[in-house]
Symmetry: C2
Subunit: 323 residues, 2 copies
């Protein structure tokens, strides 16, 4: 019988998502013995999963609970097949992205500061902030405090499953969507990464939702940030090192752009890091995929992959084939 | 020639939205003379418009720049026709509503506090906050920090132009929408106000987007709040007095519900008001309709109404017909 190791801390009810006819073995970094297993469903916390790995014997297949798997090959080596939780957290991550875009365009961080100070009349600060970041020098009446998402141009860098979900949620706002994908495509048109620099100046909002690889490290660096419009909003829902953090800090401190980051480099961000105190910025501490349904959704995807594995069918979400 | 008074402070370019063949007369509360006009386009700030009114002579038609017109009849009396800016700010107000819902479900107010304290590890507070407000007592792994909008039930109270726009923006989240309208309707089904109390217990999110009248004053009072689910989110994008503020403060302080308010009662909210310091609450100071396109959008609607008036056609947005 196939032995499947799973994080001991999971709520038991989510194990119902896994197929019948397997032996379920709880594993954790607190084990005082080694476990012989064939398939390893990894803990969603990489550090905890990495501490669990030395206790495991016989693993041939790793099923990640996360979409991002960049830490796994270095931990388990090349003789193990690795599958991502492709699709499991699409909706949740896309929702975080929409929430982040709207929160920044509506200046909610400033309004929360005003709320904390209990001073309704401070709302005028919102029009000063709008004028500063937008570069709009006209004297509006009434003063402009918020921006519309409707009608803006959104560049989605990475047009995989989550990128497509983000585009679906943007549809009611009649945005112009530009797409960059690893492979250029027609209908809908997706541009190759080589076109990135020609697209950046057209975007009001840039969403990063692509895998982190050696090719995508610092994809957004000083030259790319310099191409952004005054006040453009950079949203990183992917991985921190896709952006050069020092360059981002400079652009934010200069009042050139806005940003929303669910991921940073380094991570966790140390207390003395200047990024924490940059203006026009929302940081959430890598929680964009969090949901009451996270584990269920992840195990549903892992369970489907496990059924294919047991039936000898091709796996769908392989990110590393065992050599 | 028809004499049209408009707020002197408007950016001149937006006057292009008004028809040819009229005499444009700037008016304001700072005028040292009276102005003889036929049509008055009111300042978007009611207090400023009310101070302008004593300077005006001959007004037969008032065109509001706002959707809400509740202050106008008491100021101009019954012998003047009043039209709202129906439709002008639908998209902007609906966007505020979506932004407010997502911001609360994603706990961005807490994450902004964490960001200000520059302490990544405080993210665990989000799972404690989720457990407290949701009433979900299970031990999740990983801990739950955010909720999905997808799959929730949203009750829209007021199914006019803005309510319909909110429903359109909710569509990608596959929410179950319940509707309450002044007049019950089929397809899509809208329930009468008398059904409100049977619908409130079904909703995860309740959006108030109905006109303020004597009938809708305190529509949401203690009994209605008591019917809401633990952790339900009440969004007021309409007018403050539709909710009994004291009852709302009690429900928030008890940790029973969440709320997002663009409007309050009283307004402006005084510095010592307990609402400012309630938990699970976002307050924005009546800015939900703010947009760089606010004046253009308002004058586009006023201009269309003015064309109909000049052509002797029926007006579309009459909220008071002159007696």
């Amino acid at each position: 019988m196939l032995r499947v190791g799973y994080p001991a801390a999971l709520v038991p009810e989510v194990l119902r998502e896994l197929p019948e006819g397997i032996e379920l073995i709880p594993v954790s970094d607190k084990m005082d013995h080694d476990a012989e297993i064939d398939v390893w469903i990894t803990d969603p916390y990489p550090t905890r999963a990495q501490r669990t790995w030395p206790h495991l014997r016989g693993v041939r297949l790793v099923l990640s609970m996360m979409a991002g798997t960049e830490w796994i090959p270095g931990t388990v080596g090349p003789h193990v097949t690795i599958c991502s939780a492709h699709g499991a957290h699409n909706v949740t991550t896309a929702e975080w992205t929409l929430a982040a875009i709207l929160t920044l365009l509506k200046q909610f961080p400033l309004f929360l500061d005003i709320q904390r100070s209990a001073n309704w009349r401070r709302r005028n600060e919102a029009s000063i902030a709008y004028a500063a970041i937008s570069g709009d020098k006209r004297t509006h009446h009434p003063p402009v405090m918020l921006e519309d998402l409707t009608g803006k141009t959104v560049l989605i860098v990475g047009h995989g499953a989550i990128g497509k979900e983000i585009e679906r949620m943007l549809a009611p706002f009649y945005v112009d969507v530009l797409r960059v994908a690893r492979r250029a495509r027609k209908s809908p048109e997706a541009h190759p990464v080589s076109a990135l620099e020609s697209l950046l100046p057209q975007a009001d909002v840039v969403v990063l939702i692509l895998p982190f690889t050696q090719e995508t490290r610092w994809l957004i660096d000083r030259p790319q940030l310099a191409l952004l419009r005054q006040g453009a909003l950079l949203v990183n829902a992917a991985r921190g090192p896709i952006v050069n953090t020092d360059a981002l800090v400079e652009a934010l401190q200069a009042g050139r752009i806005r940003a929303a980051l669910d991921v940073t480099d380094p991570e966790p961000l140390p207390e003395d890091h200047p990024l924490w105190r940059c203006p026009n910025l929302l940081i959430t501490p890598h929680i964009g995929a969090s949901s009451p349904h996270f584990a269920r959704n992840a195990l549903r995807v892992a369970g489907a992959e496990l059924r294919r594995y047991m039936n000898g069918e091709p796996l769908h979400n392989v990110v590393q084939a065992a050599i």
